[in-house]
């Protein structure tokens, strides 16, 4: 089975130059209907995006809309914040001269130089601690972990030095820092490189934990995270880096931010609430598209922030649909879905549930390598569809 999924970044993909969002020239739209259709394709799922583009002519949209990959959106966010505030700087492995292990920081070292974009040795505990110390002394570091798996080496600095300090000092010592990097499963990178850390970090008071899905999320949330005066764990997803999304006119502004702590309803529906974060929002939207043909309308909620979680948005939706399914890539035990279940039970939405909450999660095993095994270790669209139908008892 070949992988035609454009999400999957082969090792060569990220080395191809990508225009920083402004490269492809746009002219006024000629056929708004066709554009709207192709837009819908984009928004619904990146999976068919490329083929959608190829099928229809590549329509130049209004100057209002721009396509941008998640990678470029992150790059733009950092570029804008580096320019806006001199105290902001980026440090991590390969972020400078290599342009970033996943090319997220491409061009930044060339523009800002050694002082603001710092290559570190492979010493996570050391450089995470250095970043936290710099934040304590008045700078605003962005500390990149090549993947969050490596953050485990530095987790003491994230939790004990960053997250808890403002509280321990009773307000004397803030720590304005962003820890960012790819989180969760990639493709074929096996057990030690595939863990999802959303639940681990979201467990701790004093941290904000953010998990963007699309390019607008990525740009807006990263800018908010950098401007936030508190430690923020910013969980990206490697498989989403290369996926292009429509960027609204509003999101092209240098002051565009997405608030931390607010979820977004990506698709309205009446029959079931489907809550997800990061890459699996795409899966949920795909599942919703399939189910719509059978007359089941899913309301897809993109969490955007794991901590503080916007439980109110979920509750509002559940009180409308009476059914809830959570979808995540992480392991089931003590995970994001588990937390949502507990919170729903403790709040007003419980009485509106017509069936217990269902969690769709990764399989409770270390990630295997073989393709067929890996594919079956993570939620597939058919698993989401199956779970929704079971929850609705259809």
């Amino acid at each position: 089975m070949t992988h035609s999924d454009p999400y999957i970044n082969r090792s060569a993909d990220w080395s191809k130059p990508t225009d920083l969002g402004g490269g492809s020239a746009f002219s006024p739209a000629e056929d708004r209907l066709k554009m709207a259709a192709s837009l819908k394709c984009f928004l619904r799922s990146g999976k068919n995006a490329v083929s959608a583009l190829r099928r229809r002519e590549f329509h130049r949209s209004a100057p209002a809309a721009v396509q941008m990959t998640v990678r470029d959106a992150l790059n733009q966010a950092m570029d804008e914040e580096l320019e806006r505030d001199e105290r902001v700087f980026l440090m991590g492995e390969e972020v400078a001269q290599y342009d970033g292990a996943y090319k997220v920081s491409r061009g930044l070292w060339k523009k800002y130089g050694d002082k603001r974009i710092i290559d570190t040795p492979i010493t996570e505990m050391g450089f995470a601690g250095i970043a936290v110390g710099a934040a304590m002394a008045g700078l605003r570091p962005i500390c990149e972990f090549m993947t969050f798996n490596f953050s485990m080496q530095a987790i003491d600095q994230v939790i004990n030095s960053a997250a808890k300090t403002y509280y321990m000092s009773a307000g004397l010592q803030p720590v304005p820092i962003v820890f960012r990097g790819p989180n969760g499963a990639s493709a074929g990178v096996a057990a030690q490189h595939s863990q999802c850390f959303a639940a681990w970090y979201a467990h701790c008071p004093g941290l904000k934990v953010v998990s963007p899905w699309n390019s607008e999320d990525a740009k807006g949330l990263l800018k908010s995270a950098i401007r936030d005066d508190n430690p923020v764990v910013f969980l990206e997803n490697e498989l989403m880096y290369g996926v292009p999304f429509e960027m609204s006119e509003e999101s092209q502004s240098k002051d565009f931010t997405v608030p931390i702590g607010k979820a977004k309803v990506e698709r309205q529906g009446n029959h079931v609430t489907v809550v997800s974060h990061s890459r699996y929002v795409s899966h949920c939207l795909d599942a919703a598209a399939v189910l719509a043909k059978e007359g089941i309308e899913c309301e897809v909620v993109n969490l955007r922030t794991i901590r503080p979680m916007d439980v109110e948005s979920i509750e509002t939706s559940v009180m409308k649909t009476n059914h809830l399914v959570t979808v995540e890539g992480g392991w089931p035990q003590f995970g994001v879905g588990a937390e949502i279940c507990a919170r729903i039970m403790e709040g007003p939405a419980f009485n509106y549930l017509d069936s217990p909450v269902t969690r769709v999660t990764g399989v409770d095993i270390p990630m295997p390598y073989a393709k067929i095994l890996e594919d079956h270790s993570l939620p597939q669209i058919k698993d989401i569809i199956f779970s929704i139908k079971k929850t609705l008892n259809v």
Partner: protein, 412 residues
């Protein structure tokens, strides 16, 4: 200098001197005036300040050097004022720590309490060599540094007793006290070292000519993250003075049992280092001055090993005699006590009188007593404070209490 039961014949020298010795050196005059004798008393002896040696130069122990052509000066100048200041600082720390010991045994202080008595020369000497605008971070044996970095004894003791008047409003405790340019107080062994290197990075980044003094113990000296910090500090020439306070024991483990190499000043390998007598405040001061100049001139980091000693055990839960002998402790007390060493120096060089020292002692005792009084009577922080200070500069948020009906409020 109040006399009692003495014969009538008295000469008040100070008045005599004021009238006739216009050429008295400026340094000899201090701002302090002798205390007014209580009514009816007769002053026994009133030595004028012009009698005291205003300044003296002392030979101090040579530092062992690593990758350094020359080290700190082997002569230290000390003015009377400085000497009294250092004495006051060290004695305050000493009395404060002993008071903490007392309060802990009365169960008024709880949890962890790691006392610094014996090591006072390190804190006092370092502070004497750096500017208030420089930065300092240390581990959990932090009460001395909290004081030298500007937090009053009252706020330190009240933090130990967990009251709202404590420097961290009672929310931090012994190991988590902070002040401007003082970053604690850190509970995780070794974690403060990368933090210190990061603070130095910020100094370099901001180009403010400030440095960061980053302290750790002989126990932490084997931590991997230290070597990671050394590597980056040297690579990027961060203005960081790494200081190992070697008090010979990491909790209950002697240095010989913990470290393959106990030459802690050499452990930075490519980073120059010095081994310093940490019981002599002047040695510490001169070495720190040398190190600070090194950093400020852009040469990069430097390591100092201060050879010092703690009288108490590792913490209040450790009697401190199962892994070392009482004789050893007693020997250090009698031969190398930092406060005694300074006092003897000043007395034998006529830089101050025994009465003066006694007077300072009395003042300090009172200060510490008052502070303890405050620390035991100040109320505990109000329950409304429980959830505050989770986030800085953020709108108020709701925090879940112990059960779902307990919805608590958190403000910045």
């Amino acid at each position: 200098m109040v006399g009692s039961c003495v014969p009538q014949l008295l000469i008040d020298l100070s008045e005599y001197v004021n009238l006739t010795s216009a050429a008295a050196p400026a340094l000899a005059r201090t701002q302090r005036q002798p205390p007014k004798p209580p009514p009816g008393a007769r002053v026994v002896v009133s030595r004028s300040f012009a009698d005291f040696t205003p300044q003296a130069t002392f030979d101090i122990k040579k530092c062992d050097l690593h990758r350094l052509e020359e080290g700190p000066s082997q002569k230290a100048e000390l003015t009377r004022e400085q000497g009294l200041q250092y004495y006051r600082t060290m004695q305050t720390v000493r009395r404060m720590e002993l008071k903490a010991d007392q309060l802990y045994k009365q169960k008024i202080i709880r949890g962890f309490c790691h006392l610094y008595d014996g090591q006072e020369a390190c804190a006092a000497g370092i502070e004497a060599a750096i500017n208030p605008s420089d930065h300092l971070i240390t581990a959990y044996r932090a009460h001395g540094y909290t004081y030298t970095r500007g937090v009053p004894v009252k706020e330190i003791l009240a933090e130990l007793t967990g009251r709202k008047g404590g420097v961290a409003k009672g929310k931090g405790g012994s190991m988590h006290m902070y002040a401007p340019h003082f970053y604690g107080g850190n509970g995780i062994v070794g974690a403060q070292v990368p933090l210190g290197a990061g603070i130095a990075l910020a100094c370099q980044y901001q180009g403010n000519n400030q440095i960061c003094v980053t302290l750790y113990g002989d126990g932490a000296a084997n931590q991997g993250q230290l070597f990671e910090s050394f590597n980056m500090a040297a690579l990027w020439k961060l203005p960081c003075i790494f200081i190992c306070e070697n008090n010979k024991y990491g909790m209950g483990t002697s240095v010989e049992r913990a470290s393959a190499s106990t030459d802690y000043y050499k452990r930075g390998d490519f980073i120059p280092g010095m081994r310093v007598d940490g019981m002599d405040v002047l040695c510490v001061r001169e070495a720190t001055k040398f190190a600070a100049d090194h950093c400020r001139s852009g040469k990069g980091p430097i390591i100092m090993e201060l050879q010092t000693y703690r009288y108490h055990g590792h913490s209040m839960s450790d009697p401190g005699v199962s892994y070392r002998t009482r004789e050893e402790i007693q020997e250090v007390r009698s031969k190398s006590d930092p406060i005694s060493v300074l006092k003897e120096r000043m007395l034998s060089n006529n830089m101050a009188s025994a009465e003066e020292f006694k007077e300072i002692d009395i003042e300090i005792r009172k200060e510490v007593e008052d502070a303890a009084q405050f620390a035991t009577s100040d109320p505990e922080p109000p329950l409304e404070e429980l959830c505050n200070h989770i986030f800085y500069n953020s709108p108020p948020l709701e925090v879940r209490g112990t059960h779902p009906w307990s919805k608590l409020k958190s403000t910045s």
